[in-house]
């Protein structure tokens, strides 16, 4: 019997994922909860690949990971795409949208670094943003202003590198735009952006 990392239930391996992947973190039920609506979205001028939408069970798990600090959940969000992405983006440098140092200290970990660690790629905490710019506390105007305040960490050299940029949730795209600006001005050769969940207002309007 295997243990599901998400719902903590013991289960009998029963899907093709379990057959090929001994390390599969999810049970049959939780695997079915993965939102497979992979799509491209252009947000704030940035084209990004979204792996699903910000809703349902996976949204709950992301909140449990980020807010309730369930560190073990870091392995489930890129599943089952991590292996494929590691192959496609071989040679790229994995970089993620930053949390503020205060937030990282409060959580005890950088939640995006935990997610990025599932990729078999070189990783770098290249970006940072000042304290007091957490999205929750800011309105839409404020969020747009954040994009100017994301900067490269001192001592990081990404000149000429191909970058794989990761973020958990994309809403307005302001954060991503800020990351792009910082990375490009530091000489990144190219940037491909992947978001776990799309929190598109247009999409949620369609549903309710």
């Amino acid at each position: 019997m295997r243990l599901c990392r998400a719902c903590l239930k013991r289960y009998e391996a029963g899907t093709i994922f379990h057959f090929f992947d001994m390390e599969c973190p999810l049970c049959n039920t939780c695997l079915r909860q993965i939102d497979h609506r992979v799509h491209f979205r252009v947000a704030d001028g940035i084209r990004c690949l979204c792996l699903g939408y910000y809703e349902g069970k996976m949204k709950d798990y992301l909140i449990r990971y980020k807010e309730s600090l369930d560190y073990e959940l870091r392995t489930i969000f890129l599943y089952p795409y991590a292996t494929l992405l590691s192959l496609i983006f071989a040679g790229c440098l994995a970089v993620w949208a930053p949390s503020s140092p205060a937030r990282i200290k409060e959580r005890g970990f950088d939640h995006m670094e935990g997610i990025a660690s599932n990729l078999n790629l070189e990783r770098c905490a290249a970006l940072t943003k000042p304290d007091g710019t957490e999205q929750k506390e800011m309105g839409r105007q404020g969020r747009l202003a954040i994009s100017d305040r994301i900067t490269l960490n001192p001592g990081v050299d990404i000149a000429g590198r191909r970058i794989l940029l990761l973020d958990d949730v994309v809403s307005t795209g302001a954060t991503l735009a800020g990351c792009h600006r910082a990375l490009l001005s530091a000489g990144a050769r190219s940037i491909f952006t992947i978001c776990l969940m799309d929190n598109d207002e247009e999409h949620s309007k369609k549903h309710f």
Binding site: L3, R10, R64, S68, E72, G108, F109, F208
Partner: protein, 392 residues
């Protein structure tokens, strides 16, 4: 690195290695009680009002007997399980005991697994104790944590360690409380004095645990309005499947009776609602993920909606006049006999409207469907034996 096997959670007592993770620093942490993280209530201070029970309607003789038995037990410090069928007027049974504790300036809590029930109970209890301060604590509603009477979901009990002189726990067999060891732990932790459990269908474990606490089981078999529970009719789907539901619903609606249609899962609720909408206008569907849920339920209660299609979330605690109940796919394994009995208890809940009909639609007559029907027949038989006046 510490081993997860040797770790016991200091907060919830969990020591099952499956529920323990390794944190970023290599230290083990409990994954079970993570979500119970928030402000704890300040120490209890009574409002100092003279609190008296003021019921505007009389208790039935059967209710009075049970109420007195409960009061006698809890004043001795003995825990109680009240076994009462749905619609028996369970809440009123504990008012006397609540008054006893409140008038002495002691902390009284009323916990239930479901948020909807908390929202519905708060005004009802306030009506009974107009002098007492009262607060409800659930989900996103946690601003005021202290009052003379605290009505809360079982999820919120973690905020009240060793707090309540009298804690009442309603619907102990309901999700998510039933079988949840963490919630049970927080429940036990928050009882300082004595507790009262309410249930229509207590499980064997519930009874054994009560036994250990030397508690008493007190039974009330009669519905508040002295009428038997409606006996559900089992109907097998005909060759046109769901069309039978439409015919049945149209009958109820043309008689001007509001109706609940239950479906086993959220996706089936949505599909069934789409179908019913074509033939029966004026209804809506509700499920636990619906942001408009509270408004729709309120509309239904106010008579603005003629029927609701929903999952079992609505199965408890919502009372509507002259309600009819249809269960689509009662043979779905998600139901058991206890759940079906609860659902059947929804029908005709208010006095003067007790001829509610309950219809179970099935593909096959599964054993739990038949068990539900026979249990209701048995309860009615018991009730008839007790020969209590039909109307007060």
């Amino acid at each position: 690195m510490e081993r997860t096997e040797d770790f016991t959670c200091p907060r919830c007592g969990n020591s099952d290695p499956d529920g323990i993770g390794i944190g970023p620093t290599g230290k083990p942490y409990c994954r079970i009680c993570l979500q119970y993280d928030g402000r704890e209530a300040p120490a209890f201070t009574p409002s100092g009002q003279r609190i008296q029970l003021s019921l505007t309607y009389p208790l039935s003789p059967a209710q009075r007997t049970v109420s007195n038995q409960v009061l006698a037990a809890v004043t001795k410090g003995q825990p109680v399980l009240i076994k009462a069928v749905t619609g028996a007027g369970k809440t009123e049974l504990v008012y006397a005991a609540m008054e006893h504790f409140l008038s002495r300036g002691l902390a009284v809590g009323f916990a239930t697994p479901r948020k909807d029930v908390v929202i519905e109970l708060e005004p009802r209890i306030h009506e009974a104790f107009p002098m007492a301060t009262i607060t409800s604590v659930y989900g996103e509603h946690t601003q005021v944590l202290s009052a003379d009477i605290i009505v809360l979901t079982t999820h919120q009990l973690y905020r009240y360690p060793n707090y309540f002189d009298l804690l009442i726990l309603d619907e102990i067999d309901a999700f998510p409380y039933a079988g949840n060891q963490v919630l049970k732990h927080f429940f036990r932790r928050s009882v300082k004095g004595v507790y009262i459990l309410l249930s229509a269908t207590p499980s064997q474990t519930d009874l054994e645990e009560l036994e250990k606490d030397k508690g008493a089981v007190i039974t009330l078999d009669i519905r508040y309005h002295g009428q038997p529970l409606p006996v559900p009719q089992i109907r097998l789907y005909g060759p046109f499947g769901k069309l039978d539901i439409i015919a049945c619903l149209r009958d109820f609606l043309s008689a001007g009776k509001p109706c609940f249609v239950f479906a086993p899962t959220i996706s089936r609720v949505r599909r069934l609602a789409d179908l019913l909408r074509l033939f029966c206008p004026g209804g809506a569907s509700v499920d636990s993920q619906d942001p408009d849920r509270e408004r729709k339920i309120a509309d239904f209660k106010a008579g603005k909606l003629s029927y609701l299609v929903c999952t079992a979330v609505l199965e408890r605690g919502v009372t509507v006049r002259d309600l009819q109940v249809i269960v689509a796919d009662a043979d779905h394994p998600i139901y058991d006999a206890a759940a079906l009995i609860q659902i059947a208890g929804r029908a005709g809940r208010k006095s003067g409207y007790e001829d509610g009909e309950v219809i179970f639609f099935c593909h096959r007559e599964e054993p739990w469907v038949k068990e539900a029907v026979s249990t209701i027949e048995e309860t009615n038989h018991h009730a008839a034996m007790q020969s209590v006046p039909k109307k007060i």
